[in-house]
Amino acid sequence: MEEGLKIELGKQGVFVTTIEELYNWGRKNSVWPMQFGLACCAIEMIATTMARYDLARFGAEVFRPSPRQADLMIISGTVTKKMAPQVVRLYNQMAEPRYVIAMGACAISGGPFKQGYNVLKGIDRYIPVDVHIPGCPPRPEALLQAFMTLQKKIEEQPLTGEGRPRHLDAEAQGEFPVPVQGEHDLEPTSNKLVWPLPVVIR
């Protein structure tokens, strides 16, 4: 249906929608994050939920203390190699549909600890990340903007065919292998299914 006609009908008091739109509208406005912070970015995440920035305006007011009840995991801070298996385990315990926001330089790439031995160089080596927020740490507004980016992504997702959400795809990977502490590093060092070797064109 045309966008213009829909707006015109709306003005006349007729509300037209599709199942897909209604479904995605519901999904995008009730994304409950998990109460889970790893480092200094968590302080900004807490600030985002407070009265000044108020994440509740986007339908994400309840930070659930249990992964079973959460939809969104905000990886806010440095993921050390000691913590990485727990992060993946928590992600596995979340029910579909689930989303991940990697907040801050450390969560995306290891940031200032990239050259170190003890920090994971980006959580997207083990779990699929939907939105990345660069910054050290990002402002609360940046988290809100990332949240809006995620909502937009959910809104545009088709319910059938290619690119449908994982909970509607019977073949999709549900559980992600939890890395274990090896002799020198985590084993495996990355999940090849979510982290194909990147090709950077310079």
């Binding site: 330089a105 940031g111 200032p112 050259q115 939105v131 940046a142 809100l144």
Partner: protein, 222 residues
Amino acid sequence: MLGEGILKGLAETARNAVGSFVSKDRLTTVEYPEERLPLPEASRNFPFLVYDGTDWEKGLRCVACQICEKECPPKCIYIDKSKDKKPDAFGRPQIYPAKFDIDISVCMSCQICVEVCPFEAIKMDTQYELSTDDRFGGLLLDRKELAKSNEYYHQIHPTEASEVDAKLAAEKVKADAKAKAAAGAAAAKAAAAAAAPKPAEAAAKPVVLADAPAAKPQGEGD
């Protein structure tokens, strides 16, 4: 009295909750996408490259000396020196960065690149709305995305930008005087000895790090 503090706290909360319906001051929420808090002048997020004039490619102040690349603690800057020289904003031939990439997924906003830059070419931006779902393309800024005009710099950090402009102007006056003196001396020498004078601009050129080894690209080292 036991619980006095809790009651006090609850009273304060209740006063704010009721007050927010009456007074605008007590309503603290900034409705972000529609309204924004003004950023403090010293706020910073990621670096950008300053250019003078209107053409970003011609006016870049950066001369690819690679000091920032070496000083960057998390090594998020990648620079390729150009093989040829191009006239900069003041018309002096300079080496320019053929490639200047900043990986903002690694950058920790420490401002060390700004502090070490002798050419006032790299400054801190205040732009924070950069979240993306594109891990590699969206978070690696090339020199075109990094180039921002001097006017923009004046907009975001007015005091600092004026200071920088004054400093650059003073430097230019000094360099011009030196070049003039050198030219005068060369002319006098040429008149005296009738030998071929050396190009005078050489004295006016700022010092560029010579023979800097080409840095290896920063990979996703495990």
